[in-house]
Symmetry: C2
Subunit: 147 residues, 2 copies
DNA sequence: TTTCATGTAACAATAATAGTTACGAAGCGC
DNA sequence: GCGCTTCGTAACTATTATTGTTACATGAAA
């Protein structure tokens, strides 16, 4: 199966938006993400519905943030994307009749649930402002490296 | 995409084996797992190569453990299965040229890596004996419930 | 009113998992 | 040795989720 890259992709898009003053069109972002404008709109639609970004049509239109970067957590983004399945590994049957399988599912399920909770806490504690800061440090180091 | 259920499936199979004295054939296990004998062999092959189980052909053949349940961790099983991808979510590009994307990948990748480490530690600390004990407690409760 | 841009449905392409068929090789019992 | 059982494996199909593409409608600015 292909892995779900929507979270990474949308964060990539948002970081490009964060580096600009004016709205970016879906075509602009598609170019950055090396994908299609329709894919961009499809993904960003969730964020728009969640009130994280806003879109405008026509001349001068495009995507912009609806609130400050520091007030948008990665968890907000994740939720806005429809809380995609985190784990690729999982049970064979959701509600097994076999008692042995129920037991296995419980043990594995608990372990996955705990790991997911930790991941979500990490997402909740990271804002887009943090991401942008991380990027600016890296960019500075990069410039120092090459210059 | 379908989720990877090999870990759950193989644990289910092993727990059935743990409840028996004699080897179980791939057909037996396929019946338990509601799947195909070939799928069972394909999955168990990794465990055999890792020295966790042994297989015998012909009359009286089938699958049996190569060492005590208490000496087999879930991590051993996971590794024997070829360390399948844990997360369904992941980066769009493994080695992006875009510095913004690199930054995003680093932040998300670190979060996933930490969550994965915790999951692996949990797997390492759980043996098949633990799983079997958990099952026996559940089975006892179940009997008390119905009887 | 023309152009730009989003909104969305429908369809195609891609990729991973799981299931199936077919055949070969090895082991046990008679 | 013969036949039955059972694993070993390759090749193919089926299913499903993600992603990409095409097409067309809608709305806003110049």
């Amino acid at each position: 199966m292909k892995r779900n890259s929507r979270l990474s992709a949308v964060l990539h898009a948002l970081m490009h938006m964060a580096e600009r003053e004016t709205p970016m069109t879906s075509d602009d972002l598609a170019l950055c993400l090396d994908t299609n404008a329709v894919v961009v709109r499809r993904t960003m639609a969730g964020l728009r519905d969640a009130g994280i970004v806003q879109s405008g049509r026509g001349h001068g239109g495009g995507w912009h943030f609806a609130r400050p970067l520091a007030e948008i957590s990665l968890l907000d983004i994740y939720n806005a994307l429809g809380e995609p399945i985190v784990f690729q590994i999982g049970p064979a049957t959701e509600m097994p009749g076999c008692v042995v399988e129920q037991s296995v599912n419980r043990v594995i399920g608990d372990a996955l649930k705990d790991a997911e909770a930790i991941l979500m806490a990490r997402f909740a504690g990271t804002t887009l402002a943090d991401l942008a800061a991380d990027f600016r440090v890296a960019a500075k180091l990069c410039r120092a490296d090459t210059g």
